[in-house]
Symmetry: C2
Subunit: 197 residues, 2 copies
Amino acid sequence: MVNEKLLKDIEFIVELDKMKSILRQTSLIGKEQREDDAQHSWHISVMAMILAEYSNEEIDLCKVIKMLLTHDLVELYAGDTFCYDKSANEDKREREVAAAEKICNMISDDKGREIRELWDEFEEMKTPEAIFAASMDRLQPMLNNYYNNGGTWRKYNVAQSDIYKRISPVKKSSDELWNFVENMLDDALQKGLIPKK
Amino acid sequence: MVNEKLLKDIEFIVELDKMKSILRQTSLIGKEQREDDAQHSWHISVMAMILAEYSNEEIDLCKVIKMLLTHDLVELYAGDTFCYDKSANEDKREREVAAAEKICNMISDDKGREIRELWDEFEEMKTPEAIFAASMDRLQPMLNNYYNNGGTWRKYNVAQSDIYKRISPVKKSSDELWNFVENMLDDALQKGLIPKK
């Protein structure tokens, strides 16, 4: 007999496979293929390992990585909401909270609680860890857009002010990364990768 | 001016995007689509978070996760080698060591060193962390095969003894997980998902 708790955990692990089929708007660099949630979550977790040294404040890198690995699990049931789609973002919070509750009931209490706490902290974006994690989550698709000739910025004619608002956590988390972002966005503007309005 | 070290790190992060296009033999559950290295690395990292409690020995979960996030980076330059392809495995080590050296030269010294050390520890499979990490790396494709009606076991007519050899790190890392694996493989045999030879 296999213990019930472990079987429940395995069932959840099998469910996680669906993250590989939840598509985001961002495309892979140099390709038409859209990125999925599993790929994105992996990329930003490794980014955190590489870029942690540039954080202004001391951060618990392990917590940042756990946050990034799990922050998009709500999309299993709430789907991906494009960050620049204002109407879809109106009920995003409500849909995601319901999904978070569902997920946390799917695995054993202590682990469901940990994932929920990580997600709540990420969403509130108040701790240095959550701000750094948000910076990774936002910088990665911008890199992909920059290297994809404007990507979703051009495809959806995103306003410059919305891009700066979206990337603003980087300004709070790291002076060095912010300097890089400003340079990249200036260059993107000059090259016409960001619509001028 | 953005500092040179950060620019080198960003260049590496952009290179990481290619992991999303390195295909493994395993398919996503219920789909024809083959899994890629980024998806796989994400899945096993979250699995480690969920299953760490079943480890026989105390493990440093943060190290396990970092190991799992980066263990397949060598495939950026060495490609994916199917675990049951004996001839391709003959020069795997040589190809991967060359790739590891290339990767570690691509990012700043200290971080290249950390990634190399994590990879060496994973490959040597001696520490409790490396054995647990290997267990995640091997359990996940077995789950996908089990839920995919035999998947690559049937497609490539893999010998039962090779499957047991491949999954053997689980036996060393966790009595509870090993109990689960034995049950799953017994069931797979009974259902004809593993070729009887």
